[in-house]
Symmetry: C2
Subunit: 316 residues, 2 copies
C-alpha cells in the first residue's frame, strides 16, 4: 500500500517523515508556512539519503529514486490534493495547532487521514470542533522515524475505529511498529515509561546513591540488553519457569516494597542538575556533543542492521 | 588480575559466576551445603561452555581450558583457602544468609572479599555483627553474569572504601561493568529502575490505554534501541542541542505533568494479570516458553557480539 502523503511543516520531524514515506514508495509533498522551508528540507534530505543508502537503510532503493518521490508544495491545498495521509509537524503550541488543523480539515478530502506528530498534546485539544474530526489522530514518532520503528497512534474520543485500523495498516506498510492506544492519555505510552524510569534515575543521583554513569551502566549493560529485542513484558514472561504470572507471584513483593519510596519528585533542573551535568561533561565535553550525536546515529543504524540480521537468522 | 575465587552455593547463579571468573583466568572452587551440587553444577557448566565457545563468548579460550580452572570443594573452608573473593549465592532468606555469613567471616582469611549475589536484601542485614564486616558487600548480577556485564556493588554502612575499590577492580578485571553504589538502598539501582518502568507498564494495561504488546513495542522498537548502547542519561544528553540541562529545561514540564498520575500502584497479580497473561499466551503459548528462552539466549549472545564489533568499528 502506498499513495500520496502531505508533510505539513518541513522541519526536523517533517523531513524525517518524508524519508520514511518516500522510502516505502509514497509520493511525498512537503509544505511549510515558511515558503523556503520545503526546499531547504529537500536539500538536507539529499544528504541524509546518501548516508542511508551507504548504510543499507533504504530497503535496497537508491537515494536518487527515493529523492525523486518528493516535491515541495507551494500551497497547503496543493500538498493535500489526493493525499491519503497528512502528517502535521507544527510547533507544540495548542493555539497554533488549532488554527492549522481547521485549515487541514477544511482543505483535505474527507478520506484523507490527518495525523499529528505532537508528543505533548492529546488530540482532543485541537480536533474537537472539526467537521472531519473522525479522521484525526496523533501519530507520534521517536525521531527519526526512518530509523526508529515505534510510533504512537493516539485517538481522540471521536476518532473513528476505521481510521485507527487504516492508520495502523499504513504505518506498518511504511515499516513502522505502531503502538495503537485505545484512548488518549497525556504522555502517551513511551514518554510515560521513559518518564517513570528517568524519575527514579534522577532520584537515585539526587539522593547520592550512585552516579549518572552508574544509571547508564544499569540500563546499557544490564536491563536494556534484553529490552532491546523483547521489551519489558516479554522479558519478565521469560524470567520465571511458569511465565509472567509466575514471575509476578515470585517477585512482585520486591517491587511493591520499593513503590512508597518512589512518590517524591526531584526537580530535574534543580540542584541535581549541577551533579548530572558535571558528570556528563567529564565524560563528554560540550564541544563534542555534535560529534557524539553522529556516533549515536552510526551506532543506531548498526544496531538496526544487527536486529534485521538476527531476526532473519535466529527469529523475531 | 586473577586469583582464586570461592563459589558459595552452586545453583543457577553460582555456576554462572563460576563461568565468569574462570573465563577470565581465575581458579574457581565450587562449594554447596548439598554435597552433590558442585559436581552437578560442573556437569551443567560443561554444556554451557561448549555453547559459549561455539558462540565466541569465551575471549578466545577453549571450553576445556576454562573448565580446567574449576574444581569442587568438599568443605567451605577448603573453598575459601587462599581465595581473594568469595561469591555467596544462597537462598534469599535473611536467617540463612546470617548463619552462612558467620561461617564465611570466621573461615575466610582477613583479605578475602566476601560478596553476596542477593537481589533483595541489603548487606547490613546479614553483616552487621561480623568481625570482618569491613570486607563484606553485595555484588548483585543480572543473570547470567557471563553474558550480561552490569552488576551492582552495594556497601553496608561499614564496608571499607578500600574493599569497594578492590571489588570494582576485580569485577572490571573479569569483564563486568560494575555499578558502584555509595550506600545501600532496597532494590539497589537496576531493580528500582525496572520496577519504576514496570509499574507504569502495568498501569497502562490495567487502565485500558494499550496492550501488553504495545508496551513491548514502545521499549523494544523505540526507547531501548538507544538505551542499549547509551543508557537513559546519555540518551537525553544527546537529545537537545545544549546537552542534558538544555533537555530538562525544554522538556521537564512534560514529565512533571505526568508524575501525579503515577502515584497509584496496580496489583500486578490482580485483575490486570488475567489480561497480561492472556495476551502473552496468545503471542507465546505456555508450552513454548522454554524454546523461547533458548531463542532469547541466542539473541542476547548475538547482540553482545554486535556490541563488541560496533564498539570496535564505530567506538564505544
Amino acid at each position: 500500500m502506498s499513495g500520496k502523503v502531505a508533510i505539513v511543516g518541513s522541519g526536523l520531524i517533517g523531513r524525517a517523515w518524508a524519508i520514511a514515506f518516500a522510502r516505502a514508495g509514497w509520493e511525498v509533498r512537503l509544505w511549510d508556512p515558511v515558503a523556503a522551508a520545503p526546499g531547504r528540507a529537500l536539500a538536507t534530505i539529499e544528504g541524509l539519503l546518501a548516508d542511508l543508502e551507504a548504510q543499507d537503510m533504504l530497503n535496497g532503493a537508491t537515494a536518487a529514486a527515493v529523492r525523486a518521490r518528493m516535491n515541495p508544495a507551494g500551497t497547503l491545498a496543493g500538498a493535500l490534493e489526493g493525499a491519503a495521509w497528512a502528517q502535521e509537524n507544527a510547533p507544540e503550541d495548542v493555539a497554533v495547532k488549532r488554527s492549522l488543523w481547521r485549515e487541514l480539515d477544511r482543505l483535505a478530502a474527507p478520506a484523507t487521514i490527518l495525523a499529528s506528530s505532537t508528543s505533548a498534546i492529546v488530540p482532543s485539544r485541537f480536533t474537537e470542533d472539526l467537521a472531519g474530526r473522525g479522521r484525526c489522530l496523533v501519530c507520534h514518532p521517536i525521531n527519526p522515524p526512518y530509523l526508529v520503528p515505534a510510533c504512537e497512534l493516539v485517538p481522540a474520543p471521536w476518532t473513528e475505529p476505521a481510521t485507527m485500523v487504516l492508520a495502523e495498516q499504513i504505518m506498518r506498510g511504511i515499516g513502522q511498529a505502531p503502538i495503537v492506544m485505545k484512548k488518549e492519555l497525556d504522555g502517551f505510552v513511551m514518554n510515560r515509561m521513559q518518564g517513570a524510569l528517568l524519575e527514579e534515575a534522577f532520584r537515585l543521583v539526587a539522593d547520592g546513591y550512585c552516579s549518572v554513569e552508574d544509571v547508564d551502566i544499569g540500563i546499557r549493560d544490564g536491563l536494556a540488553l534484553r529490552w532491546a529485542f523483547m521489551g519489558p513484558f516479554e522479558t519478565i514472561d521469560l524470567n520465571a519457569p511458569g511465565g509472567v504470572r509466575d514471575y509476578c507471584e515470585r517477585y512482585q513483593q520486591i517491587y511493591a516494597r520499593l513503590f512508597p519510596s518512589m512518590q517524591r519528585r526531584v526537580d530535574w533542573s534543580g540542584e541535581v542538575m549541577d551533579v548530572v551535568e558535571a558528570q556528563r561533561r567529564v565524560r563528554l565535553p560540550a564541544e563534542k556533543l555534535q560529534e557524539r550525536q553522529r556516533w549515536r546515529d552510526r551506532r543506531l543504524m548498526a544496531l538496526l542492521r544487527h536486529r534485521r540480521k538476527a531476526a532473519s537468522e535466529i527469529g523475531s
